[in-house]
């Protein structure tokens, strides 16, 4: 079967289009900053940026003017403070007006489940008694045909593009994740085009040695980008730690419009890609974040 390996530049050029609904998933873990930066470099426009937790990467996409709408459930810099890029867009229409469409985590998860299952909606027990029910007209209700109970519903979410960062993948896009998995599987199956970004390219034999670990099968993958350290300042369990200092520092960097734009200019437009980003970051930081070794006890797949 065809090798699907592309550079990040090629993958974003070919699979991310202006106006696309896009999801770069990853709950704290495996957030693909490398892809976000390339999207900014290619000046993609009018994206509908979907994600449970917009995080710093969507903060940057918004500040760079790539986004027309954010679909989300928790918008903050975890443990630190707000996302100032998003706030400037929502509160002051800067650099452009950005619409928001807001759910809870469960609501977003349910939207991706429906999307992956090609169901038009999913029902769940949340939103009742909350103001979101009034503010978001996409949240509706349905009556159970067995118990007559009323449950809330959310519509399926089927983005045009999913970008999923993984620890290891083969050249066909068979991708394995361990540690936090968030809602990546559902985001991938729900999307029309899927870019896998891997810390490490492995032979298919490695994947096939542990098939239960495969979160996303190559058959739904359009492109594989090999991008070590591509999740920094997020992390990849077993590869490198979360750069908590970066998140702490982002508070000051992003609070001020000019300093945030300087960051984008220096660290995104100022480098050609992840290799230069790593060089700029410096070996000390990279070394400090290097993961220690703590291996799983292997299991036997023989019969």
């Amino acid at each position: 079967m065809k090798n699907k390996i592309l550079t990040m530049k090629e993958a974003v050029e070919q699979y991310v289009q202006d106006g696309d609904a896009i999801v770069i998933e990853g709950f704290t873990h495996l957030i693909c900053f490398a892809a976000g930066h390339e999207i900014i470099r290619q000046k993609k426009k009018d994206l509908v940026a979907c994600r449970l937790t917009p995080d710093l990467i969507y903060d940057q996409l918004i500040a760079a003017g790539c986004v027309r709408k954010v679909v989300f459930s928790w918008a903050g810099n975890p443990g630190i403070g707000p996302l100032y890029g998003l706030r400037r867009a929502v509160e002051n229409d800067y650099p452009r007006k950005v619409e928001i469409e807001e759910y809870t985590h469960f609501g977003m998860v349910a939207r991706f489940i429906a999307g992956a299952s090609k169901l038009p909606f999913m029902h769940l027990r949340t939103f009742s008694g909350s103001s979101l029910l009034q503010k978001n007209k996409n949240i509706k209700t349905i009556k159970c045909p067995y118990t007559d109970e009323v449950l809330t519903t959310v519509p399926a979410l089927n983005p045009e593009v999913a970008i999923i960062h993984v620890q290891r993948a083969d050249a066909l896009g068979n991708a394995q994740i361990w540690g936090l998995m968030g809602v990546q599987r559902e985001a991938a199956f729900a999307s029309q085009r899927i870019i896998i970004v891997a810390e490490e390219l492995v032979e298919k034999e490695v994947i096939r040695s542990d098939p239960n670990r495969t979160l996303i099968p190559g058959m739904i993958v359009n492109a594989v980008v090999v991008e070590p350290f591509g999740a920094h300042p997020s992390y990849a369990q077993g590869y490198y730690d979360r750069d908590n200092q970066f998140y702490v520092d982002w508070y000051q960097v992003s609070k001020n419009r000019e300093s945030m734009e300087r960051y984008i200019s220096d660290w995104i437009f100022g480098v050609s890609g992840r290799r230069e980003y790593q060089e700029k970051l410096g070996l000390d930081t990279i070394k400090k974040l290097n993961a220690k070794e703590q291996f799983s006890v292997p299991v036997n797949y023989g019969f």
Partner: protein, 254 residues
């Protein structure tokens, strides 16, 4: 600072005493995380910590800055996807205790962590629900922790992110919520519980050095005071020692 401990340390210690061994706790970052890990070191070594990121039975070896820190995964019992966290654990009714914070809480324990001002033209845009709305809906018991003043305890909150009892009739039954609602509210002034008659908050414990007047001045509505009001037990030396080990840089103890 209250004597030889801070109000944050008192809040953490007080919260941790609510946790029983073997309970399953849905943990947030910050003071709740400290409270749970304090309880694990004392009366509840088998407390099961669940984070909405999917880590079950986490045993964090360092202070997690975020709810998805890698230290919550290493040596945990199980890591599952968020589909399972929300469908099977939370909605499935497996959570004994859920912690919630927020920018505002009203007399019925309804919490706002979404927006200050109008939703469409916010004065301050806050992070939003995350999993808070479903925690408040499904966890059997809710403990609310936040710093108290007239703004955080307003007459009316600007947005209900996480429903408490909703109003004096307790609308939870109407919505068939399996969680019983907020059990207590822990602030830097005292501990509040809710009347089983009108589901309204009342002061149940008052922190050492705080007067009832202080409390009243920092609530926007007329707060009821329990006739059986007691003084909160201050943190013990042991509690303080463990807390400072858990957060040596005092990141969450400011």
């Amino acid at each position: 600072m209250m004597g030889s401990y801070t109000s944050s340390e008192l809040m953490v210690a007080r919260a941790s005493r609510e946790l029983k061994d073997g309970e399953v706790v849905f943990v947030g970052i910050g003071l709740p995380n400290l409270a749970c890990n304090l309880a694990r070191r004392l009366q509840a070594p088998n407390l099961v910590l669940i984070y909405e990121s999917g880590a079950v039975g986490a045993v964090p070896s360092r202070l997690p800055l975020s709810i998805g820190d890698p230290c919550l995964v290493t040596d945990s019992i199980s890591v599952c996807s968020m589909v399972e966290v929300f469908n099977y654990y939370l909605q499935g009714g497996l959570i004994d205790v859920g912690f919630l914070g927020g920018a505002q809480v009203d007399r019925f324990g309804n919490i706002n962590s979404t927006v200050i001002g109008d939703y469409n033209h916010p004065k301050v845009r806050l992070p939003g629900s995350g999993g808070a709305c479903e925690i408040s809906t499904h966890a059997k018991k809710i403990i609310i922790i936040l710093k108290q003043n007239k703004k955080t305890f307003p007459e009316k909150i600007d947005f209900v992110t996480s429903p408490g009892f909703i109003n004096e009739q307790n609308q939870r039954n109407k919505y068939k919520m399996q969680g019983r609602g907020p059990d207590l509210v822990i602030t830097d002034f005292g501990v509040y519980r809710f009347s089983s008659e009108n589901y309204t908050m009342f002061l149940s414990e008052i922190h050492p050095g705080i007067s009832v007047e202080d409390v009243k001045e920092n609530v926007s509505w007329h707060i009821d005071i329990s006739p059986a009001l007691v003084s909160t037990n201050p943190p013990t030396k042991e509690e303080l020692k463990i807390i400072s080990e858990l957060d040596p840089e005092r990141i969450h103890l400011r």
